[in-house]
């Protein structure tokens, strides 16, 4: 058993495909997760993220491709032969064992000597030492979550997999656990691979996020990269909200393209364009927009002829729907910082933004990809 723990290093998935009959859950996926990182696999239900995780854990075998950890090929080894532990969705704590025995389970199987000491340490880490003698059913959801984490971490795996670990917690507890998980990861220095459909959760915790859709990786990068400069409509819509406006590149101006949006000209940094030809979607995040009354002078890009359609006050900001002359409604988030008097429905306005915030996607994309995400539990939850 000793050689097991000596396996470590980057996790490498090479050309992994997993199909069930005609259905391909994961399609030719290649991915390297560096040792020590906090990595998130983010995507909607059925995008293949859980299947990917289960293949890494050894609970599924890939149809094609290899999985290796450091220099060791682990594609077909049994789950108990891998130095990888999982925090399961809904925790899967053993109901017939005490909390102590739950955490000790892996240590005992591996024939570790100082079980008590290590379990106590793990309990201390999650701050639940006083619950060692209880049974899992007597614990609250948040406590169970921490025990599931302790049960995995105590084994010091080369890789810790988290399968929607916070999905069953309420919002407030989830926020708290997000911060705690991140802290624990730094503290123990293990590689964490975190599967989630919650973009906010992924962005809060991970240093690198892979956005998955239909069995493939759409884009990989740091949370800021993904948000500020999405490569596809799916990423643009799945991570936060985006306004995507159809347009054509009509000219160049140094490092910028000149883009024609329904007759109005704006500029776009060339290095922020993922388009392949002149047909594009110009993308702007709603909070980057500024609304101004017709008389107010503006800088940067400007779209005129808007009319306020709807106003929702939500505390930190006010959200406006602005109807543009070509019939599209744009979403604008304005800070409630009293710089401008609030606009009211029916008012004629202009919209402006710093040209550096514009990104561009291929014009042949589905502008609504990634917008509607079906409820998680029905499909992703296997069995």
């Amino acid at each position: 058993m000793a050689e097991k723990t000596s396996i470590h290093g980057d996790l490498r998935l090479s050309n992994i495909t997993k199909s069930y009959g005609d259905f391909t859950a994961v399609n030719d996926l290649s991915l390297t997760i560096p040792e020590g990182s906090f990595f998130a696999l983010l995507g909607p239900s059925g995008c293949g993220k859980t299947t990917t995780l289960r293949m890494v854990a050894g609970l599924e075998e890939p149809t094609r491709g290899t999985i290796s950890l450091g220099n060791t090929d682990i594609t077909f080894t049994k789950p108990y032969q891998r130095p990888i532990n999982t925090v399961f969705q809904n925790y899967a704590l053993f109901p017939h064992l005490t909390i102590f025995e739950n955490i000790a389970f892996g240590l005992r199987r591996r024939g570790i000597k100082d079980v008590k000491e290590q379990v106590d340490k793990a309990l201390e880490l999650v701050e639940l030492s006083h619950l060692a003698g209880r049974k899992p059913t007597q614990l609250s959801g948040g406590q169970q979550q921490r025990i599931a984490l302790a049960r995995a971490i105590v084994n010091r795996p080369a890789l810790l997999l988290l399968d929607e670990p916070l999905g069953a917690l309420d919002l407030k507890l989830r926020r708290q656990m997000q911060i705690e998980l991140k802290w624990i990861q730094k503290e123990v220095g293990l590689t964490f691979v975190h599967v989630t459909h919650d973009q906010e959760e992924a962005m809060t915790m991970a240093d690198t996020i892979a956005v998955m859709n239909e069995g493939e990786i759409e884009q990989l990068g740091s949370p800021a990269d993904l948000y500020d400069n999405p490569k596809t409509a799916f990423v643009a819509n799945f991570l936060g909200q985006s306004n995507l406006i159809k347009g054509t590149i009509s000219g160049n101006d140094g490092d910028n393209h000149i883009v024609d949006l329904f007759g109005q000209k704006i500029s776009l940094a060339k290095n922020r364009s993922h388009a392949v030809d002149n047909s594009i979607y110009a993308g702007i995040r709603p909070e980057k927009f500024r609304i101004s009354r017709l008389s107010t002078p503006t800088s940067g890009n400007l779209l005129s002829g808007g009319k306020i359609e709807d106003v929702s006050y939500i505390g930190v900001s006010t959200q406006y729907q602005v109807l543009m002359p070509w019939g599209q409604e744009l979403m604008v988030f304005e800070q409630n910082d009293d710089a401008v008097a609030p606009f009211s429905v029916g008012e004629d306005v202009n919209i402006s933004w710093e040209s550096g915030f514009t990104f561009a996607l291929r014009g042949d994309e589905d502008a609504e990809a990634g917008m509607e995400v079906e409820p998680e539990e029905i499909i992703e939850d296997d069995e």
Partner: protein, 303 residues
């Protein structure tokens, strides 16, 4: 489309699960072998043997109880014609007992599931408890309670509810009542199990959507408890149709059921072929009724 794909993926995943769970594909067969071997030897083989016995005829000039195979299919017709009354009675009594038991058990199960609160477990124990006193003792207790020397008959006679010559035992009424009583726990438990699984919020939702109490029962409670109804009625009807103990203890010669006939053919008359033909007919009839019933009720997954 996606759902379907996922379903098939689930199927596959549980397959791989069991593959990685317990290694060899031979494992299930090894697990099945002893038990299934036992059932083949002591269930299938006897039934086949019974089928074979059913067409035998007495050896000419042989001892009582010695028979030879002559493939006399007419045994079935003879046996049936001779005992059609008892056949009819068996199914009639069993059907009546099933209906009565359902009528008594449904509200009882409903009360335990929804109205018992903390008493739930205690009440469940009380339903099962009589089951542990020998059912023969309980049946005989009824005979004595309702008999001439019990207190019920004189009481009813004094009140002129029954005529002085009327008895409660030795009657069809007593036999059906006895069966109803004996199979009541078998009806109540599956009913309870499926009613207890109903989310009470569905009943509230039904009320919220303009259904009165009766409509809620008919459109929500009853359909949701159907698996329990089917299981309970089967667990009552099947043993009731083949029962002969209630008829023997609580009945009279006029209430003989097919079970009594089979028993006496076997032990008193030593007419194995007729007993076998009757048993086989009884089993076949029940199986057909059960199959039709399960199809109609639409509950496939019973076992």
């Amino acid at each position: 489309m996606l759902k379907q794909a996922w379903k098939s993926s689930q199927k596959r995943s549980s397959k791989t699960m069991s593959k990685s769970g317990i290694s060899s594909p031979r494992t299930p067969y090894l697990l099945l072998l002893p038990g299934m071997g036992f059932l083949f030897t002591f269930f299938i083989w006897p039934i086949a043997n019974l089928a074979q016995t059913s067409t035998q005829t007495p050896v000419a000039g042989g001892d009582t109880g010695s028979y030879e195979q002559t493939l006399r299919w007419k045994n079935y017709i003879d046996a049936f014609v001779e005992n059609k009354e008892q056949f009819g009675r068996s199914f009639l009594y069993a059907a009546l007992a099933t209906i009565f038991a359902l009528t008594i058990a449904y509200p009882l199960a409903y009360a335990i599931a929804f109205k018992a609160g903390k008493m739930k477990n205690v009440l469940l124990v009380l339903v099962v408890a009589p089951f542990f006193t020998s059912f023969l003792l309980r049946t005989i207790a009824w005979k004595q309670i309702l008999g001439e020397q019990g207190f019920v008959v004189p009481f009813l006679r004094n009140l002129h509810i029954i005529a002085p010559s009327t008895t409660l035992t030795s009657s069809a009424f007593a036999v059906v009542a006895g069966m109803t009583y004996n199979f009541l726990p078998f009806m109540t438990l599956p009913l309870y199990a499926s009613i207890d699984r109903i989310d009470p919020r569905t009943l509230e939702a039904s009320g919220d959507l303009y259904a009165n109490g009766f409509t809620t029962f008919r459109k929500v409670t009853l359909p949701l408890s159907m698996p329990g109804v089917v299981a309970g009625t089967l667990l009552t009807f099947i043993p009731a149709a083949g029962d002969y103990v209630n008829a023997a203890i609580l009945g009279s010669p006029e209430t003989k059921m097919i079970g009594n006939v089979i028993e006496s053919r076997f032990f008193k008359i030593v007419d194995y072929p007729t007993a076998a033909a009757l048993s086989f007919t009884l089993m076949a009839t029940i199986l057909i009724l059960v199959t039709v019933y399960i199809r109609k009720a639409g509950t496939e997954e019973l076992v």
